[in-house]
Amino acid sequence: MSKRALAVLATVFVLSGCTSVATTVIPNVTAQVPVPGNASVAAVPTAAAGDQCANPLASLRPPNPLPAPGQMPAGSTMAKIVQRGKLIVGVDQNTFHMGFRDPSTGQIQGFDIDMARAVAQALFGDPNAVQLKVLTSDQRIPALQNGDVDIVVRTMTITCDRLKQVAFSAVYYDAKQRILVKQNSPIDGPDALAGKRVCATKGSTSLAAVAALPVKPVPVSVSDWTDCLVMLQQGQVDAVSTDDVILAGMTAQDQYTKIVGAPLADEPYGMAMPLQNQDFVRFVNGVLANIEAGGSWTASYQRWLGGLLPGAAPAPPTPQYRD
C-alpha cells in the first residue's frame, strides 16, 4: 500500500507543478571610500613633548667674513659640495607657496625653495645649482642621516628632540600651529576637537601636538599635507592642524575652508643639516643673515606669502647664536 501512496504523492507533485524557484537577492552595497595611500589613524608617541633642552633656537655663529662663492675653505663640507657641482636639497612639492610643484610648468618653487637657492647662490654664485629631492615629513631626518641630501629646507620645526639627530640653522621663519576647518564647521578652536578626526602628516610636530591635546582628538596621519586637504574635502577628517603658513596654502586652494582658533604651538622653522657638518651650519647662518639684511628675505615673503597671510610682511626672525 505504501507504494501506491508514494505513487499518488508523486503524481500530485507533478500535477501541482511544485518546483522550488531560486530567487536572486540584491544585496545592499556599501560604499568603500578611497583614502590617500599611507593614511592611518595614528597611534602617536606623545613622549616627544617631554624633551627639554637649553635654547633650541640658538644656532652656531656664522664665520666673519663669509667665504666668497666658489672659494670655500679646503676640506670643508662646502668645498665638497662645490666640487660636486650641485647642492642637494630635501624639499616639499605639496605645500602651496612654501615648496610646491607648479602643475603648469612642472617646476618646484616657493619660499623654502628661494631659501635653498640663496644657499646655492652663496656656494656657487648660481642659484640654479640645486638638485631638489622631494621628501615626505618622516623622510627628512633619515635622508640627512644617510647623506642623501646636504640640507633640508622643508617647513621643518626646530625641536629639542630633532636637535639630537640633526643640526639646525637659525630660525628663518616663525610659524604657528593652527586649525583648518570647512567654512560651515562648528569647530572654533582646539577645545572643540574632542573626538574629532584631525589630520596631520606622519613624523610632523603637528601630529604630536594634536595627539597631546587634552580634549583627545583622533589623529589621522598621511604622507603629504595636500593629502590632508583631500581628506577634508572628502569629509574623511573634521579638521587639519598644522602651521599657519601651510594652512594658508590650503585655504588658497579651497575657498570653502577657514583657519580658526588660537595658536596651539610656536613652530620656528630651521634648515636642517647632518649633525657633524658644523661648518656648513655656520655658513648657512651667514647666508641667512645676509639675505635677511639685504632684503631678499622680505622680497621672497612678499612674492610667495604676502597674498596668503593677512597683514604686511613681518620683519625677518632675529637670529640667535651660540659659539
Partner: protein, 440 residues
C-alpha cells in the same frame, strides 16, 4: 498509476507467472527472446550515453570557443586597460602645463575599453557570482567609477594650477593599485582556470564511450555464439548488420574523440599556454611603466616605485625568455625576439633616465621618460607593448583555430551515434526475430 496492476495481482497468479518465465528462460526461444530484448535495450542505452558523452565534449569545446576563451581575453583586457589608464593619467602629470590631447584620448579609450569589457564579463556570469562576497567583478564595477571621479577631480585642480591635483592623482593611483588591479588579476586567474577546465573536459580520452561500445559488441558476439549453438546457423544478417553498425559507431566516436584530443592539446601548446606567459609579460610591462612614471612623479620620494620597477623588470625578462622558448610559430617567435630587443632598449633608456634624475637633471629625466625621441623610454615601452600585443593576438588566433578544428571534428557525431544505435537495435531485434519465427 504505477504498481496498481501488481497490487491487484493475487499471489498465486504471480507465482504462476514467475514459474512460466523460468521455464521459458530455459528454452531456446526464451534465451533468444531475452537476448533480443536486452540487445535492443543495451544498444539504445549505450547509444544514448555515448551521444551524451559526445554532446558534453562538444559543449566543452563550444564553451572554449564562445565562453571561457573570450572571457579570459576579456579579463586580460580589463587588467591591461586599467593599468594603462593609470600609467597614462599619471604620466599626464609629468608633461606639465596643458595636457597633451593624445594622452587624454588614450586615457578615455582605456576607461571606455575597461568599462565595456567589464560589462561583458559581468553579463557572462550568474547573479550569484556577482553578489558573492569578495567578488572581483562586483569590486571592479563599484570602484571603477570612483577611480574615474578622482582622476577628473585631479584634472580640475590641475587646470587651476593647484598642487592639490597631484594629491587626488596619488589617491586615484593608490585605489587602482591596491583595489582595482588585484581584483582584475583575480578575475584573470579564475577565467584562465575555467579555460583549463574546459580544455580538460574537451580533451579527455573517450574511455566511457569505448567501454560502452565494447559492451554492445560483446553482447552481439555472445548472441551470435548462442544462436550458432542453438540453431546451428553460422551467419545471421541482422546480427551481423548490428555488429557492423556498432563497430562503425565506435570507430567514429573514437576517431573524432582522438582528433579533438589532438586539437585541444594543440590549442594549449600553440595557444593558451603561450598566451598566459605573454599576457603576464604584458602586465609586467605595464606595471614597470607605471613604476617608472610614478618614480618621477614622486620626485625623490619614489624609491619604493623604483625598487618595484627593478623587481618587475627582472620578472619581465624571465617571462620573455620563457615565451621565446615556448613559441611554436615563427611569426610569434619573431615578435618575441623584437620584444626582447625593445626590452633591452627600454632598460638602457631607463638607466639613462635614472642617471639623469639621480644627478639632479629632472627635466632631462622627464624628457627621456615621456619624449618621442627614438631612444626614449616611452618609445621603447610603446614598441614593447605593441610587440607583445601582436604576439598575443597571433597565439590567440592559433588557439581559436585549433578550438574551431575540435568543434568541426565533432560535427554530426551525435546524429551518427543516434542513427547507428537505432540500426544496431533494429538489426539485433530483426535478426533474432527471424530465428524465433522458426519455433512457431
Amino acid at each position: 498509476m504505477l504498481g496498481a496492476g501488481g497490487g491487484g495481482m493475487t499471489a498465486v497468479q504471480a507465482d504462476r507467472r514467475v514459474r512460466g518465465l523460468a521455464r521459458l528462460g530455459g528454452t531456446t526461444p526464451g534465451v533468444l527472446g531475452g537476448f533480443a530484448l536486452s540487445l535492443i535495450l543495451v544498444a539504445l542505452l549505450a547509444g544514448a550515453l555515448t551521444g551524451l558523452g559526445v554532446q558534453n565534449r562538444a559543449q566543452a569545446v563550444d564553451d572554449l570557443a564562445a565562453r571561457s576563451g573570450p572571457l579570459s581575453v576579456a579579463a586580460e583586457q580589463i587588467y591591461q586597460s586599467l593599468s594603462d589608464a593609470d600609467a597614462t593619467a599619471t604620466g599626464a602629470f609629468l608633461s606639465g602645463g596643458l595636457e597633451p590631447a593624445a594622452t587624454r584620448q588614450r586615457y578615455e579609450a582605456d576607461i571606455a575599453q575597461a568599462s565595456g569589457t567589464l560589462a561583458i564579463a559581468v553579463a557572462a556570469r550568474e547573479p550569484a557570482d556577482i553578489t558573492a562576497s569578495g567578488s572581483a567583478l562586483a569590486t571592479l564595477s563599484e570602484q571603477l567609477p570612483v577611480y574615474a571621479g578622482l582622476v577628473e577631480t585631479a584634472r580640475a585642480d590641475n587646470q587651476q594650477g593647484l598642487p592639490l591635483g597631484a594629491a587626488y592623482q596619488r589617491e586615484a593611483s593608490t585605489l587602482m593599485r591596491t583595489r582595482l588591479l588585484p581584483m582584475a588579476q583575480d578575475l584573470y586567474r579564475s577565467e584562465t582556470a575555467q579555460v583549463t577546465a574546459d580544455q580538460d573536459g574537451a580533451g579527455a580520452f573517450p574511455i566511457v564511450e569505448l567501454l560502452l561500445g565494447l559492451i554492445v559488441l560483446g553482447l552481439l558476439v555472445a548472441a551470435q555464439v548462442v544462436l550458432f549453438r542453438r540453431t546451428n546457423r553460422v551467419f545471421n544478417v541482422g546480427l551481423l548488420g548490428a555488429t557492423a553498425a556498432t563497430l562503425v559507431s565506435l570507430l567514429w566516436v573514437m576517431v573524432s574523440g582522438i582528433a579533438v584530443m589532438g586539437d585541444i592539446s594543440a590549442s594549449q601548446r600553440d595557444g593558451s599556454t603561450q598566451v598566459d606567459v605573454l599576457a603576464a609579460a604584458r602586465i609586467a610591462t605595464l606595471a614597470a611603466r607605471a613604476d617608472e612614471t610614478l618614480t618621477l612623479v614622486a620626485r625623490g620620494a619614489g624609491q619604493a616605485y623604483q625598487a618595484d620597477f627593478v623587481q618587475v623588470d627582472k620578472q619581465l625578462g624571465g617571462l620573455l625568455t620563457t615565451a621565446g622558448n615556448q613559441a611554436t610559430d615563427s611569426g610569434v617567435r619573431a615578435k618575441i625576439d623584437a620584444a626582447k630587443a625593445d626590452h633591452a632598449a627600454w632598460t638602457t633608456a631607463h638607466g639613462t633616465l635614472r642617471k639623469a634624475d639621480d644627478s639632479g637633471d629632472y627635466g632631462g629625466a622627464v624628457t627621456v621618460a615621456i619624449g618621442t625621441a627614438p631612444d626614449s623610454a616611452a618609445t621603447a615601452f610603446d614598441k614593447l607593448d605593441s610587440d607583445l600585443r601582436e604576439a598575443i593576438d597571433q597565439t590567440r588566433s592559433a588557439f581559436t583555430s585549433k578550438v574551431t578544428g575540435a568543434g568541426n571534428a565533432l560535427n554530426g557525431v551525435v546524429a551518427v551515434v543516434a542513427v547507428l544505435a537505432v540500426l544496431t537495435a533494429a538489426g539485433a531485434g530483426a535478426g533474432i526475430w527471424r530465428r524465433l519465427r522458426d519455433y512457431r
